[in-house]
């Protein structure tokens, strides 16, 4: 048994679980694949690659670029956390686009003929919701800055604010 574990890298129960998993997945795949093996393999692999090696690097890069560009901004911005007032509306708007881009870009050709509903409103709905998200975020930031300023006036000596990192220190947060 010990020899097995050393060779395999885990206990026999692990191997059994794995075999069960691949047995079930293989059984389903045997029905799934024959219709269009290449198309489906491309979709499965494309799902993983598209998310892990495309979507995540892209949004991480965007996030870091914005952090970099705004690193030396007016001192009135809170030292830390301000980026979330930009990050959240952008990400939520992007999330809605990711889910609903076929409707927003009017891609389903037969939609209107089949449902009697027009495709035209979705782009405006998305833009409107995006605008509302940015407005809400701006209002929240304004409230936060106001509260910070009032707190600063009340206690000018005690230092209300987290000092944050020194100017030269790296701030490469991806999330």
């Amino acid at each position: 048994m010990r020899r097995f574990s050393r060779w395999y890298g885990a206990g026999p129960l692990h191997l059994l679980t794995m075999l069960g998993c691949f047995g079930l997945a293989g059984y389903a795949a045997a029905e799934l694949l024959p219709n269009n093996p290449i198309g489906i393999a491309v979709w499965f692999a494309g799902a993983v690659i598209g998310h892990d090696l495309l979507l995540v690097p892209l949004y991480t890069l965007a996030d870091r670029s914005v952090s970099g560009v705004f690193r030396h901004r007016p001192p009135s911005l809170p030292t830390v956390g301000w980026i979330n007032y930009l990050r959240v509306p952008v990400a939520l708007s992007g999330l809605l686009l990711l889910i609903w881009f076929p409707l927003i870009f009017r891609l389903p050709a037969r939609f209107s003929a089949a449902t009697t509903l027009p495709l035209s409103p979705y782009l405006w709905h998305w833009l409107g919701v995006t605008g509302a998200l940015f407005l809400l975020s701006a209002a929240a930031l304004a409230l936060r800055l106001g509260a910070d300023r009032r707190a600063a006036r009340r206690a000018p000596e005690s230092g209300h604010r987290d000092p944050g990192p020194p100017a030269g220190s790296p701030r490469r947060a991806e999330g």
Binding site: G9, L15, L24, Y27, R171
Partner: protein, 432 residues
């Protein structure tokens, strides 16, 4: 030779080095909270998905089965009930709305574990290799299922085949990866959840946020950057995404005065006339011609091939002279949208069975005037025929059916998927 071997073993620069991953909020606790949310929700997706398949009664007849090769995967199938009348409406509303709501949680969860994709060495044992292969099924399957579902409800059929087999068999591949992942990670998740108090984390603001200590699971950073968001902030971020998506889509399933709130959902718009309600196939879109539904239209009532009784034919006036019943029933689509209850009026299916000479029908084959198409014919079960609310409807909400709602006659069966409530009915073939 020795230095060369060493250089092969040590990780190359870039994402394979742990120091590359600097987010100070990544860590086993955060991953586990997101994982717990998925662990609670994915089984609901699984069960509502299986129920939706059962609602098509695929075992009743090959006509109903979009996935005849299912084999053992249909082990649980049962005859779909007709009550409560909102059963399918609720099931699909939950399946679709919950699925949409889980998208941000899934994205955050995948983000939180991304360093593991690049762990070094990539494979350190046979067990590890198998585990990584199962993760390919898990992640590939998850994105595949979400993508096919989300594209299907928008009727943008760009996936590599017919939706039903892709989504059903894909679900089983995903489930295989999911079950094995839960089995392997549940102890790790419980340990991580216990490592920090949930309420205490919710009280920890950005200034007080410290990274989780580096863990054996490759998640927490060894060289963390300064935090720009707290862990409670990340959870609020993901939760806000879920709430937003749900708020902008649930109205298409709730209906009534709330439908307009589904600003980003395929059936969030009210139809042009206030007395009217949603459809997903107009008469024109499936090629129904006015000449087929006019005065020349006849309903053929038959029995199984070879039976002694000759088929009965009825025109619309003849159907209207029969005993009329009213049933208040919704239309609920597999795509998740549904309508409020509509007042349908017409002839009971069981009365038509008796007229055809079958007092104890076991099933009925309903054929539409549609030319081809996966749902131009359907088989209903004995329970569905005998339900007093199961009608061949001629009128709805006090008026004749409109062409888009199935004029001259359509089937309406309580708790049945919309596509099984056949429109533009041409014949009913009862089996004893």
């Amino acid at each position: 030779m020795k230095p060369r071997v060493k250089s092969l073993i040590s990780s190359p620069p870039g994402p394979a080095r742990r120091s590359f991953w600097r987010s100070p909020v990544r860590g086993p606790w955060l991953t586990s909270v997101l994982g717990l949310a998925l662990l609670a929700s994915i089984p609901v997706m699984f069960v509502t998905g299986l129920l939706s398949y059962a609602a098509y009664n695929p075992d009743l007849s090959p006509v109903n089965d979009q996935t005849p090769g299912k084999g053992w995967l249909g082990f649980y199938l049962f005859s779909w009930p007709t009550h409560p009348i909102w059963l399918y409406r609720l099931n699909q509303g939950v399946h679709v709305t919950l699925g949409l709501t889980l998208v941000p949680i899934l994205l955050f969860k995948l983000w939180s574990v991304l360093p593991k994709l690049f762990e070094w060495p990539p494979l350190h044992s046979a067990a590890h290799a198998l585990e990584r292969l199962s993760l390919f099924l898990l992640v590939g399957g998850a994105v595949f299922e979400f993508a096919t579902g989300i594209l299907n409800i928008q009727t943008w059929y760009k996936f590599p085949g017919s939706f039903y087999p892709l989504h059903l068999y894909g679900a089983w591949v995903f489930t295989a990866g999911f079950v094995v992942h839960v089995a392997l990670k549940l102890p790790v998740m419980i340990r991580a959840l216990r490592s920090r108090g949930f309420v205490k984390e919710l009280r920890t603001n950005l200034a007080a946020t410290r990274p989780e200590p580096p863990d054996a699971g490759y998640l927490a950073p060894v060289a963390p950057a300064e935090p720009t968001i707290s862990r409670r902030g990340v959870l609020a971020f993901a939760g806000a995404g879920s709430l937003l998506v749900a708020a902008l889509s649930v109205g298409q399933s709730v209906g009534g005065p709330l439908r307009w709130t589904a600003l980003l959902a395929p059936h969030g718009q009210d139809v042009a006339s206030p007395d009217d309600f949603q459809v997903n196939q107009t008469a024109a879109s499936v090629g129904i011609r006015a000449s087929e539904t006019g005065a020349a239209w006849r309903l053929t009532l038959g029995t199984e091939a070879g039976a002694s009784t000759a088929p009965v034919t009825l025109d619309r006036a003849g159907l209207l002279r029969m005993e009329q019943h009213t049933a208040s029933l919704p239309i609920a689509c597999v795509e998740g949208w549904s309508t409020d209850n509509q007042a349908w009026a017409g002839v009971r299916l069981r009365d038509l069975a008796r007229l055809a000479g079958v007092t104890r029908p076991s099933s009925v084959l309903v054929k539409s005037l549609e030319h081809g198409g996966a749902f131009s014919q359907v088989v209903l079960s004995a329970g569905q025929i005998m339900d007093p609310d199961a009608l061949l409807a001629l009128r709805v909400n006090g008026a004749d059916l409109t062409p888009d709602h199935g004029y001259p006659a359509r089937v309406i069966v309580p708790a049945s998927p919309g596509v099984h409530c056949t429109k533009w009915v041409a014949s009913l073939e009862f089996r004893g």
